[in-house]
């Protein structure tokens, strides 16, 4: 394990960028630069935030100037609708970031993807290996964009063998704070499923997503990896553990034929079915041998324990009036106090040195 000295996180204003930046703040001897068009919603201590678009043509100069060693590319907008703007950011953005990395001599790139790109098919083997050609019948924006990025990465890897490019394919992400298709599915009032279908599913806890990204930033493990929690669960058991023992089963043909009709009359199909129909019908379980052996990563949560925690936190939210917000607020304020104290100390010490330079007063 070789820890890089300077890490750039693209998409630091988004949820995953913010979480990773917050995680890396506790790592000693690490300079973390965050890049995004908008600042993180919650201030992250120790993050060197730069406000710019990842598609900026001067990115390569910036990387070279800052001596960035590793890039974690998380600038990706998830959506279940086709959108040209999202495609431009997701796919073209990734190409531009990767291009800048080659020009600036960055040695390590980590990128997030999804096991959904294998597609949910009736003839899927029980465990999909990383070599399997992605074959999602993607209607949704994100899955299509991930497939495009991965196709581009295949060529990139042979062109630039010096750069260690790791792609982590995550299954459905679950956790008390994350907003993902799976958490939306489990939080929805009526959880519609397809009658008589009980596909096997994998999960990963949001904290393990962050941990896996950081782990692979330090690991010399090029290639594609399925990264998921221990345990494969049938959907029915997953829902029971997730606090939704009773589903609203819909006859599958009615769902397949009805959705276009609903869409045509302006109903938000994506809100009724947070997870696409095929993914509630057929299995799409990744093989984890490569994660265990080559990536040498073990998620902290098993699928069952992640679900138990999710359910416990959701039940607790009924009793705390603000749904656990106050605890979060307290955490934030503690960070702010800490940050202000440190910058004041720095200013004092600079004054003591001669007081010629005015310390960067990044008071908020």
């Amino acid at each position: 394990m070789v820890q890089p000295k300077t890490v750039l996180i693209t998409g630091a204003g988004g949820y995953w960028g913010m979480r990773l930046a917050a995680r890396l703040a506790s790592v000693p001897d690490l300079h973390v630069i965050g890049l995004d068009t908008t600042a993180p919603r919650e201030g992250v201590k120790g993050l060197d935030f730069v406000q710019t678009d990842v598609r900026n043509p001067l990115l390569a100069d910036f990387l070279r100037e800052e001596k960035v060693e590793a890039v974690c590319h998380l600038a990706f907008v998830e959506s279940n609708r086709r959108s040209e703007a999202n495609f431009d950011l997701n796919v073209m953005g990734a190409m531009k970031v990767f291009g800048a990395c080659t020009a600036a001599g960055v040695s390590k790139i980590v990128c997030r993807s999804s096991t959904a790109i294998y597609g949910a098919h009736p003839d899927n083997p029980a465990f999909l290996s990383e070599e399997r050609v992605p074959a999602a019948k993607s209607h949704t924006g994100s899955v299509r964009d991930w497939m495009e990025i991965e196709a581009f990465c295949n060529g990139f890897r042979s062109q630039w063998p010096d750069i260690t490019l790791s792609i982590l394919r995550f299954p459905s992400i679950i956790g008390p704070a994350a907003d993902t298709p799976m958490t939306r599915f489990l939080r929805s009032k009526l959880t519609p499923t397809l009658m008589g279908f009980d596909p096997l599913m994998q999960l990963i806890h949001e904290a393990d997503v962050v941990e896996a990204l950081w782990h692979s930033l330090c690991q010399d493990a090029p290639g594609v990896f399925n990264v998921a929690a221990e345990g494969v669960l049938p959907l029915s058991r997953l829902m029971a553990l997730g606090g939704k023992p009773i589903a609203a089963p819909v006859f599958h043909l009615a769902a397949y034929w009805g959705n276009p009709v609903l869409g045509a009359v302006g109903m938000p199909v994506g809100r009724v079915w947070p997870i696409e129909l095929d993914y509630l019908r057929y299995p799409w379980v990744g093989d984890l041998c490569k994660m265990r052996e080559d990536l040498d990563f073990t998620p902290a949560y098993s699928a069952v324990s992640a679900l138990r925690e999710f359910t416990a936190r959701r039940r607790l939210a009924h009793y705390t009036s603000d749904g656990g917000k106050s605890a979060q607020d307290e955490e934030l304020l503690r960070d702010t106090i800490e940050r202000r104290r440190r910058s004041r100390q720095r200013a004092v010490s600079l004054d003591a040195q001669g007081g010629l330079e005015q310390g960067e007063e990044d008071l908020i």
Partner: protein, 406 residues
């Protein structure tokens, strides 16, 4: 004679409850036979021991016996008490007793039943048993609703299996009266690949091969059957198959299961075998593309040829309608004398007599795992296994006199 009259009779009762006819000993009120009993009795006067005393003695003796059993095997827990179990036990042991003794025993038991109905404790016991059964049922439902049960990585659900087991056992023992041979060819542990012939429009034969191994094999091994990729598209059936521990037929899945030391069943004929017409019965279709041989070679697992005779007659497919099949997306659509004419009644299978024969294992060890890429060897082994299964079917058919009675 006179001496007999002068001596008093024995004061004890015989086992049958009659007064003892023997003469008492000179120095005791009992005869030679009952001397010991009297010595143990708590009443020194030698009068008939009170029922209370007898009961105490009995319970003491039983306690001693229980202690001895516990000493001999400390981890044995007796099965929970139930009237059925007691009757079963009696049934098994009654013929070991002499007719008189058996009759006596039964009469006594009957006496207890009548008097116990008036006893409050009996009703307490019944209430307790009903309560216990209800509690267990609700606990199961609760557990299912909270997801606190086990499934393995392939989706196999042991609780679900135990629910459907009685039905499968009924079909196996009573409906098709299946006779199994060669079960000893299945190893007690380690991988093996079963290759039965496939027949009968619906995959009943798959369920019965699994049931046969579960019921007849000393280790009660679970057979992991591989099913065609059409089944995952069907509602209910797809999830039932997965819960029963089966999985999609692919070389990856089969190899992985064998490497996990599982017992795998693959039906190399596939859909072609199930959808056979009645006139083609017991004529094996092509054995796939040799995928099953490749799994066995890769995992170095022996192939065990299996023949199922009787399943071909469960549904008599007279004709296959391509048009209807294509319309509803089925791989084939059989027309039988009862289906689709009688609707759902057409699903009732013919209660033919079945035979399942497990053949000698064909070892793969001499070839090595890299032989899986040797196309010539793979096709040779495929033909070899097919010929063996066909031969086993012919052997069995030659012995069979009747479809319904075997």
């Amino acid at each position: 004679m006179s001496s007999n009259d002068s001596r008093p009779r024995c004061a004890a009762l015989t086992k049958a409850g009659q007064p003892c006819k023997n003469d008492a000993l000179a120095d005791a009120p009992f005869c030679r036979v009952h001397e010991g009993v009297a010595a143990n009795a708590a009443s020194p006067a030698g009068a008939e021991p009170s029922p209370e005393v007898l009961r105490q003695e009995l319970s003491l003796e039983l306690d001693n016996l229980i202690a001895r059993v516990e000493n001999a095997s400390s981890d044995y827990r007796p099965p929970p008490f139930s009237p059925q179990a007691l009757l079963g036990l009696l049934n098994q042991n009654l013929r070991r007793l002499s007719p008189e003794a058996a009759q006596d025993l039964l009469h006594r038991l009957r006496g207890y039943v009548n008097s116990d109905l008036l006893d409050l404790d009996t009703w307490k016991g019944i209430w307790y048993i009903i309560n216990y059964a209800l509690q267990q049922q609700t606990d199961t439902v609760k557990r299912r609703f909270s997801g606190e049960y086990e499934t393995d990585d392939w989706g196999m659900d042991p609780e679900f299996l135990s629910i459907i087991q009685p039905f499968l056992t009924f079909m196996y023992r009573r409906y098709w009266r299946i006779e199994t041979s060669g079960i000893e060819n299945i190893p007690a542990d380690g991988p093996a690949l079963l290759t039965p012939n496939h027949s009968g429009q619906l995959p009943w034969d798959g369920a019965m091969v699994g049931t046969a191994v579960y019921l007849e094999h000393p280790e009660q091994r679970l057979v992991r059957s591989l099913y065609a990729s059409w089944f995952p598209t069907l509602p209910f059936l797809s999830s039932i198959f997965v819960k029963a521990g089966q999985t999609l037929a692919s070389v990856e899945n089969g190899t992985r299961l064998l490497e996990e030391n599982q017992l795998v069943a693959v039906y190399p004929e596939g859909i072609k075998g199930v959808g056979k017409l009645y006139k083609d019965r017991y004529r094996l279709a092509r054995f796939g593309r040799g995928g099953f041989v490749r799994m066995a070679l890769r995992a170095q697992a022996p192939i065990i040829p299996v023949s199922v005779v009787g399943a071909e007659e469960t549904y008599m497919s007279l004709y296959k309608s391509e048009t209807i099949a294509r319309l509803i997306g089925f791989p084939f659509f059989p027309i039988t004398p009862t289906w689709p004419l009688l609707g759902l009644f057409g699903f009732i299978p013919v209660p033919s007599k079945w035979y399942i024969d497990f053949g000698e294992p064909i070892p793969m060890a001499q070839y090595g795992p890299e032989a899986a890429n040797n196309l010539v060897l793979v096709s040779q082994l495929t033909d070899q296994v097919r010929n063996i299964v066909q031969q086993m079917i012919h052997d069995r058919l030659a012995q069979r006199r009747s479809v319904l009675f075997g």
